[in-house]
């Protein structure tokens, strides 16, 4: 049984003006998230991903479809029971949303008060959580005295306080600088690894997905247009939306002006060589070309690390007679895909 199962879920809002058309934020989405997954949802702003994540914990009611969490359809639960389900689903936010009227300790204790944990146990649990996120010395500070990254770590500690089995991260790193983003992503990966928490990551940044999500769904105008293993989506994106996102992190094929510039600068024929982690490597490709005795030069692309697996996408300029080039390229080995580029 999947941990979270969305089936034909839609969400539309009534028109803002009388006589207007309703706005459909989520349109017939089905997603299945297994226990212990880190599941990424990526899309541009307005793609419906923030609405989607709010449907999972029932902050917004669905218009149609069903959402099962641990096999229970939450879309039909009465308010009181829905609140109990939410106590088992942590959530972190882009703007952290810490209570300014409470200290860090008070913020982390909040969900424990909600679930009715006795005061004495609460204090011990808060200390444990602050240790986990490395902020025990900030326990008595107020949120505004902390940096963005620290505030988000408090947000994570607070979200984990009631020992949820699911953590929803809504653009959790979008307000942070790259260095702090890494720190928060590392912490999320640790939450998943050490506590076995299923994490749903909503983001518009593809490198966030590449860093921590094993599976990804690409959203565009309320629909999931592509989904699957992150590595597969990165190496073989099918839709234009996915391709555009992949290009932001994977050094992609040259096109348009970039290709013209390469053409003008380099003699010989241009080839792109792509390989996945099926035993191929850039070193092996280069060695094979060198052995064949052709003159080649790497002109574009590189090798990326996606979920700890390599993905190479290299463009080379090759000079030499046609037969030698053909032989050389034939010798690069299995798992490597070669294609000539025509400007």
């Amino acid at each position: 049984m999947p941990h979270i199962q969305l089936t034909d879920v839609s969400k539309s809002y009534p028109p803002s003006r009388r006589g207007g058309t309703p706005v459909t934020a989520v349109d017939g989405v089905s997603v299945s998230i297994e226990r212990g997954d880190v599941y990424g949802v990526i899309g541009y702003s307005g793609a419906g991903k923030s609405t989607l994540v709010r449907l999972i914990n029932g902050l917004e009611p669905v218009t149609a479809g069903s959402i099962e969490v641990d096999g229970v359809d939450i879309t039909t639960l009465p308010a009181g029971e829905l609140r109990r389900v939410r106590q088992g689903i942590g959530m972190i936010f882009q703007r952290f949303n810490l209570l300014r009227s409470r200290t860090i300790r008070g913020n982390v204790a909040y969900p424990l008060e909600v679930v009715g944990m006795p005061r004495a146990e609460r204090a011990a649990r808060v200390d444990e959580l602050l240790r986990f996120v490395g902020l025990e010395e900030k326990a008595d500070a107020y949120p505004e005295q902390l940096s963005g990254g620290q505030q988000q770590r408090v947000g994570i500690a607070r979200a984990l306080a009631a020992s949820p089995s699911i953590l929803l991260a809504d653009e959790a790193t979008s307000a942070l600088d790259p260095e702090t983003t890494d720190e928060v992503l590392d912490l999320l990966a640790r939450v998943n690894r050490e506590l076995g928490v299923t994490i749903v990551v909503i983001t518009h940044e593809m490198d966030v997905i590449a860093r921590i999500a094993a599976k990804v769904a690409v959203m565009d105008r309320g629909r999931v247009v592509e989904s699957g293993d992150t590595y597969d989506v990165f190496t073989r994106p099918k839709t234009d939306t996915a391709k555009r996102f992949v290009r932001t992190v994977v050094r992609a094929l040259p096109d348009g002006d970039a290709l013209q510039a390469l053409r003008a600068r380099h003699e010989g024929r241009l080839f792109t060589i792509s390989f996945t982690d099926t035993g191929a490597s850039d070193a092996r490709v280069f060695a094979a070309l060198a052995r064949a005795g052709v003159d080649f030069q790497l002109v574009h692309g590189g090798v990326d690390d996606i979920q700890g697996r390599v993905y190479g996408l290299l463009t080379i300029a090759v000079r030499g007679d046609a037969d030698a080039v053909a032989t050389a390229l034939a010798g690069v080995g299995g798992g490597v895909h070669v294609q000539e580029v025509h400007a």
Binding site: R83, R84, R86, Q87, G90, F93, L99, R100, S101
Partner: protein, 223 residues
């Protein structure tokens, strides 16, 4: 100059007594009107569209009530309240009557101030509390009111000054206090020193209230 000092010191016992009455009128009105205003203002905020206890009908009724009664000039409101005061508290004159009327007028005024203070609460923190499984009453008690505490202090400071203002017309219905004293014994008896003495005390009280309010809100807001 010596005459003036002698005259003012002769007024002192009466001034002290009337100051005490003004403070008492304001304190009682603040207790009743402030509490009711806090309740109605919070109700306005939580029942509005998107509020944690969204109730369009309740919101509409409260909103119409507040909009109807709040702009009425207090001196007319006071006169109009007389039959109602007779019914509810058994008298249409005196200090009880003025406290009753200020409390009701203040309820509507303070309700609007409270509502505006609560709007300053970031919707995100309310959403966070909902995501943690908190119910609407808990959110009002532990998120909305504490998060708006600093602005609320400033709002109530403003309200207290308005209550002092309202209490000045107590004389119309036979009430006492500095306002009545200034009008009855100063203005109508051509004794500007009396009027000015009462005025100075009112200025001192309002300044003190404002200063305390500013300090408290700054403490709460930590800036």
């Amino acid at each position: 100059m010596n005459d003036l000092i002698a005259q003012v010191s002769g007024l002192l016992p009466a001034l002290v007594e009337q100051t005490g009455i003004t403070l008492w009128l304001v304190a009682l009105s603040l207790l009743f009107g402030g509490t009711a205003g806090l309740v109605v203002g919070t109700a306005l905020y939580v029942t509005r569209k998107g509020g944690v206890l969204q109730q369009p009908v309740v919101f509409w009724i409260l909103n119409v009530l507040v909009n109807t009664f709040r702009p009425i000039p207090f001196i007319i409101f006071l006169a109009a309240m007389q039959p109602i005061a007779r019914l509810v508290i058994g008298t249409g004159i005196g200090n009880e009557m003025i406290v009753f009327s200020i409390s009701i007028a203040a309820t509507f005024g303070i309700a609007r101030i409270v509502e505006q203070n609560l709007v300053s609460v970031e919707p995100g923190v309310i959403e966070a509390a909902r995501a943690m499984g908190a119910g609407p009453w808990r959110i009002i008690r532990t998120v909305i009111l504490p998060e708006a505490f600093g602005p609320l202090i400033l709002g109530f400071t403003f309200a207290i000054v308005a209550l002092i203002d309202m209490s000045a017309v107590a004389g119309i219905v036979g009430g006492d206090g500095l306002g009545d004293y200034a009008l009855s014994y100063g203005f109508r008896q051509f004794e500007p020193v009396v009027t000015w003495s009462a005025l100075v005390i009112i200025i001192i009280i309002t300044q003190a209230v404002q200063a305390v309010g500013n300090v408290l809100s700054r403490l709460v807001l930590r800036r």
